[in-house]
């Protein structure tokens, strides 16, 4: 999220938000359990490359700011290693929330990785295990 961007907080944003409902349906997680201790971000191996670390993504979602959470690159940097989930003292499966964010975006019809545009060199070099997992997370 740009540093000086103003955000508007309102209970309405949390109460009636189609994408937020979808997020709950896909992840089956209660993001309101999170009390922002930051354990997830402390151990996330990819947090330094994220626009917003995992605990801040959860905070944005708690405030109903799902667009801002999706605007950040964080869910696309997440490697689904499940560290955050294991370390969360409140039992929030953050990895599932990240997956839900990816799914909501992918289901709007935009793939994060364009397979056609990957170079032949990359496709030849990388093992199936890398390609399949990447396409599973980043395309629909």
């Amino acid at each position: 999220m740009p540093k000086n961007k103003k955000i508007v907080l309102s209970s309405a944003k949390v109460r009636s938000n189609e994408d937020l409902d979808k997020l709950k349906e896909i992840s089956e997680e209660n993001i309101f359990s999170c009390y922002q201790c930051g354990n997830c971000s402390a151990g996330c191996p990819a947090a330094e490359f994220m626009d917003e670390p995992p605990h801040k993504i959860i905070r944005l979602l708690q405030l109903g700011l799902i667009k801002e959470a999706m605007y950040a690159n964080s869910s696309w940097i997440c490697a689904a290693c499940i560290y955050c989930t294991v370390e969360c003292p409140r039992g929030v499966d953050i990895a599932k929330v990240m997956e839900a964010l990816r799914q909501i975006a992918l289901r709007k019809g935009v793939n994060h990785v364009n397979i056609d545009k990957l170079s032949e060199k990359i496709l030849e070099k990388l093992p199936q295990i890398a390609l399949i997992s990447n396409f599973r997370k980043f395309t629909l």
């Binding site: 992840s27 089956e28 990819a46 490697a79 689904a80 294991v86 093992p127 997992s133 990447n134 599973r136």
Partner: protein, 292 residues
């Protein structure tokens, strides 16, 4: 003992040396692996979307094949396969509603799967079960002061319900190696993620992680990294070559499958290791340490 075996995609191609070292090793301890007649790619990553069960079908169909094989246990060599198969079986076992939805979809398939008929076992768990003392009896090579850095990655340690060892301080490989008289290196990134599929479109993340990992091991005097996951292997091995090309001062470290090291120690034909599949050639270190 007979055990069903699920190879998965990469074990049949760029990680062929994982299979070729692991299966003869198990054979030495009277474990006969029977590869499933018909298996599917597990999908590599477990699908975490609760509202779409389609992604669970491939791993479940493989588990159905395992059930039909008549063996109670299914061996996986790959960490990603282990994670996906195990978690999919737990979806079926722990969620009756999802089990029913999946069953309804697979109504033409005869064998029902309830989630608990097959024990999915990872190669490292099986080696722990065989026992370090038993493995020690078969050691035929004397090693010169080899320092090994075990790397666990994430898929065999997380989430908790499928973990084969402590997610924070795993000791499985250390315990075996130490019993065999081999020194291990204690370093902080043993159970960190290798950053996985980011290698496709964000290789810089993999690079940064690998640099941190390798430097930390080098600082502590490690000679080789051992692991069990073909994706971790590719990521940590291949990217080191790139880092070394960009930065002359970077010291590389060879990456071997845990089973390759054990196969060398117990005297299985070294050709099974097919070092041409490695980007950082392990042969100079292995020769120096008396393993080749």
């Amino acid at each position: 003992m007979k055990i069903s075996y699920y190879p998965g995609c990469t074990v049949k191609t760029s990680a062929k040396n994982l299979e070729n070292s692991a299966l003869p090793l198990l054979g030495m301890f009277d474990i006969q692996t029977e590869e499933l007649d018909d298996w599917y790619c597990c999908g590599v990553t477990f699908s975490q979307s609760a509202d779409n069960l389609m992604y669970q079908l491939a791993p479940i169909r493989t588990l159905v094949k395992a059930k039909e094989s008549g063996n109670k246990r299914l061996l996986t060599l790959c960490d990603m396969c282990y994670n996906t198969l195990k978690r999919s079986s737990l979806v079926v076992k722990n969620d009756p509603e999802k089990q029913q939805t999946i069953r309804d979809f697979m109504y033409l398939e005869k064998t029902e799967f309830k989630g608990d008929e097959i024990e999915i076992i990872h190669i490292l768990s099986l080696l722990r079960e065989i026992g370090a003392e038993e493995i020690k009896k078969r050691i035929s090579r004397k090693v010169n002061n080899l320092k090994v850095a075990p790397y666990y990655g994430c898929m065999i340690l997380r989430p908790r319900e499928i973990a084969i060892d402590s997610a924070e301080d795993p000791r499985l490989m250390e315990n075996i190696l130490n019993t065999l008289g081999i020194e291990t290196v204690d370093y902080p990134f043993r159970s960190d993620c290798c950053t996985s599929y980011q290698i496709v479109n964000e290789p810089e993340i993999v690079k940064a992680h690998t640099k941190k990992l390798v430097n930390s091991i080098k600082k502590r005097g490690g000679d080789i990294i051992v692991l069990s996951c073909p994706l971790c292997h590719f990521n940590i091995d291949e990217i080191q070559k790139q880092i070394a090309e960009e930065d002359e001062s970077f010291e590389t470290i060879p990456v071997l499958y845990f089973t390759q090291l054990l196969a060398l120690l117990v005297g299985i034909d070294p050709n099974v290791n097919d070092f041409s599949l490695h980007y950082i050639d392990p042969r100079p270190v292995l020769e120096r340490k008396g393993l080749l």
